[in-house]
Structures are given as structure tokens and as C-alpha cells.
Amino acid sequence: MNFILKQGPFLHSKNNKFNIELTLLITLIPFVIYKISSNLINNLLLFIIILVSSLLTSIFIDYIKGNKIKIENYMDDIIYILIVSFIIPENISYLFIFLINILISIIRKYIKFLNYPIVIGIISFGFLDIFNKSIILSNFNLYIFIIISIITILVLIINKSFKFRIALAFILLVTIGGFLKQDFGTNFMFLIFNSIYIIASFKLTPNNAFIQILYGLILGVVAIFLPIFYFYISIILISLIFIYVDKNYSYYLALKKGI
């Protein structure tokens, strides 16, 4: 008999990193299909350009570095591609998209801090502010979007693939804001999408449940009162502050005695 010595525990949850990323990826597909279907030729072409430019650059860099090329190593890239495909403005130069995505992929490979929420934040900020382009779809249907969003949120909550407390706190405040402003249009849609994939993503967000709720609420307030293109800069700054707060909250919880 061969008895292997190993450190326990010897059971693991099936909800591993690959499954989490796969769930995120699957939930993004309806959004992308919806976008492509709204302007088939143009948006399909945009999607292919983003896919080819980002993924091939990433694979090429790994090939040069001698890294193993496995699908699970590119989940982050695919999620990035799907998010960008949804939020990218429709009337933009294909060549520009192609080149900017190659550049972003190179930067992302070497600066790990620039994970997709930050990059997407910067891109969106850039597009909105510099190019003054609209991210919103030409044939936007709020009801279809809300249905896709609700299904997505439920799937992500069941599979525990995002920080749902942040998303729910944020959506709550943004919805209240929507009622107060009597505005449930395209901005609202855009904020909901952000809450799911960017501000509630695992990356650069607080970990303690209470701090997550606070973070979601504060971002909700910011989203209501600030113009949308300043919102992205706020996410990065507020998340950095909240990560610091979160660490100190961990010290506070550890000090508490008992359960």
C-alpha cells in the first residue's frame, strides 16, 4: 500500500476559479448577442476585431515567454473581450479599436495591477470623455436589457461568481436615484451593467461583507450625483480607499472575542 502524506482539508468546493470565470463568461454572452443583434454587421465586425486583437496578442506574448497555452489561462482575456464588446461605441474606427486593443493586451500582460475592471474603466472614460461618443446602443430596449440583467444577477448569485452584496447595494441606490430623477434610460442600463461586471467583480474590491455593502452604497451615491464619465475615476479612487478600510475592519473583527 502507498499512503500519501498531505496537508488537509482533503475536500474542496467545486466552485473553483475556472467555474467562476466560466459563469461570468456565460452570463456575458446574452449581452453581447443582444448588442450584435441590434446592429448586426457593424457590431459583429467590432466583436471579431476585439476578439482577434486581444486574444491573439495575449497568446502570442505567452508563446514568446514559453508559457503553456491553455484555455483556463485566457478566461480573464475572454471576459475582458466580452465586456468591451458590449460597452464599445458603435461608430468608431475599426483600425483604432484593433490597435488600442493590442496595446492594452500588451500592457495587461506585464502590469498585473491593470486587471479588466480598471482597464475597462479607463477605456470607457476615454471613449466618453475624449471622443465624446455614446456607449449606448442605437436600438436600445430597456425591458430586454432588464430581463437579461435580472437573469444574469440570479445566475451569478447562485454560482457565487461576483460580490453580490456590492452589486445589490449599488443597484438599490441607483434605482432609488432613477426614481428621484425620473430617469430609467440608457444611463441606468449602463450603471447596472457596471455594477455586475466591474464594481462587484472580485478584483480591487473590499472583502468583508459589511464593507462591501458600504462600498456599493457609496458608489451608488456617486453614480447618482456625478456625471457618468467621472464615475469611473471615482470607482478606482473609492475602491483604493475601501481596500484600506477593509483591511482595518479585518483587524477590528479579529479583535472581537467569541463567534
Binding site: F3, I4, L5, K6, P9, K17, N207
Partner: protein
Amino acid sequence: MVRGTKIINNKNISLNKSINKIEMPDYVYIPLVTYNNKKCKFLGKIGNYVYKGEKLATSNDKYDLGVYSSVSGFIRGIEKRIFIDNTLVDTIIIENDFKEREKAKKGAKKKINNYTKEEVITLLKNCGVIGMSGTGFPTYFKYGMDLKIKKLIINAVEGEPYMTADFSVLNSYTSEILEAIDALIEIFKIEEAIIVLKNYNQKAISDLKEYMGSYTKIKVKTVKDIYPIGYEKSLIKALFNINIKTNPIEKGILVNNISTIYDIYKVLKYQKPITERIMTISGEGIKKPQNVLVKEGVLISEIIKQIGGYKFKKGLLVVNGPMIGKTLETDNVAVTKQVFGIVFLKDVKCKIEDCINCGKCVNICPVRISPIEIMKNKKNPSKLKKLKPEKCIKCGLCSYICPSNINLKEEVIESIRVGGD
């Protein structure tokens, strides 16, 4: 709210099967250690004859625990053997004469409530009754703390995956357990006793409820099927929503494992030391998973041989369950009363990846520490001090839940060691 999550339990493979008694081997191996791996002083002589239940050694510490012979026979020697924690410890080898001779035979007591408090405490001490949930904490110490016991909690939760020994004890000895609880209530003037089970254990719940009319001070309560709700303080929080910061007995609450209660019954009834226990032998690598009654000192190899052997030749032999247990390098190891189960599992390789900052470990930790922060600050003593890794109860839930397969439990244990240096 009590923190925890529903985990894979795999209990059905050994559940609801009758308890199989393991035949006595030619030799038994009694390790000279007691609670907290405290070494014991050998009291006898090599070559001497020993009776079943005879005290062989004493711990010589504040707990003053004994080590008892589980068979009658001759002491053939003392040698260093691998113990259940993989360390080498002095072990007494007894050649079994299969006569089961006892030094002084006492008849069974008709009424087990006919004792004083002091007599019970002395009996529990002299008969080596310990916590059967793996800790091995001396039971007499809990009852002898000279504090009023208001509530007696009988923990039948058995949270560890694969383990069904406590279920089988409860299902097989329901009336004996209730008799023992009733006696404890009367002797220690306890206000009420609560048997706590997980809500899916319907057979035991209905069996117990049949008796409830005769035992008015005993209640049955169920808790959610989450891990590690069986941890003493979590259980108290789940039952009474109170946060216990020190020893529960200071709040008048005494928690005993269901198997410990059954041992108390045997001690009150027969006044003999406890030298055997019911344990689970399970896992996908065991041909016939089941619960067995085993004498202390029997080798694991002997137990598994008697129940049909292993299914495969390479795997993880885990003592005391896959969440809190440890692997053994050999099955040539003697079981003790602290072993509530043995599982043989496939070695599933998990790729360890970088932390994705999901925060799952932080929000699930039952004692509210931050395993990932502890890991990141392992080499930063000032931050480590603030993160209190010593609060860890080693339940393993952080490692179980981690999507990146980081063994956070070991990282926390390592940081406790680093902090202590």
C-alpha cells in the same frame, strides 16, 4: 448569525448500517499519551500480567488522566511506534490472552442516577471518560468545575464529512443515552438538556420524540446543515443566539458529544474504564464502509482487513475526517479513543492558483479572522498580531471554499508558528 456553509458530506455510504464489532487481535498497542499529546508515566512492569481496564499509565499533569488496557494479557514491551499524529511515541505492547479478565467484577447498576456529584466526577476520572469528538478533553474536568450547570447540550451534529459514528450511536443506543442524560440532570440538578441534531437526521429525531413524554427536561432541537456548526461556540450561538467569549461552562452551559454521553452511561452502569469506541471507517477507497466497535490499541490495518480491505493501493489515509483530520504514512498505527473515524480517499490533485480576491474565506470564517490577510502578512509580525491567527479553530473551511485551492488553513497554522517564534 452563525457562519458556515453546506459542504459535501458523503455520509450516506456508511449511514444506517449496523455496528460491526472488530474481533480482538493477538496484540494491542497502547500509546503512552493522553489529552494534548501529553506523555504518560508507565506504572507497570514489562512481563507483568494486566487485566482488562487496568490502569497502565498516568499523565502526571493537572488533568491526571489514565491510560487503560483494552484487553487482558501480558505486557511484552514498550517501543516507539507511530502515533495518530505521525510522531513516534512510547507504546505498550500487550499480548492478548482472549480471556477478557477484569480485576474486580462489578455488577450492572439498576439505577444509574443513584450517585452523588462527587462520585460521578470521580468515576468519570477513574474510568478515563474523554470528549469523543476528537479533542480528548477530560469529561470529569468539565463536570468538576464547581460551577452551576444550567443547560446540558448534547452535540449529535457530527459535521465532519463521511463520519456517521455519532449517528449510529444515537440510533442504536437511544434509550441508554436518554437514561444517562436523565441521570446527569438529576445528579447535577441541571435545568434542561438539549439534544442537537442536524435537520436532515429525521430517523433519530422521530426516535427521540417517541421517548420525550418520559423525559420532560430533555428537548430535541435541530440546527441547519452547515459546517462547522458542531463547533461548541457555534452550536451555542445557533441555539441561544449568545456569543460565548470564554468557557461555556462559565455561562452555565456544558456541551458533551453524544458518544461521550454513551460512555457516561456505560461508566455509571458498569463502573468500568472506557477502552473501546464506535468509529466510522469510510471513503471511496474502503470496500465496505461502515461503523465499527473497536478496542483501543487495535491497528488500523487490522480493522480495515477485517471489514474487507481497501479498494485501491494508493491514496490518503485520513484520521478523524477529511476537514480536520491528518494523513498517516502507514496503517500500522493503533487507534485511540480520540479517533472517531478513518477515511481512505483518492489523492485528487488541485492546481493552486493566485488569490482572486473573492473574499469567500473572509466572510465564511466562523471566528471572523481574515485567512487571506494572515497569509499575505505572514512575514509582517506587527500586522499579524492585529489579525489574531491564534483564534483559528482549524476547521478547514477557508481552504475548502478557496476557488484558487490555496491551503489557507495551513497558512494560518504556519503564521501562528511564525508568530510564536
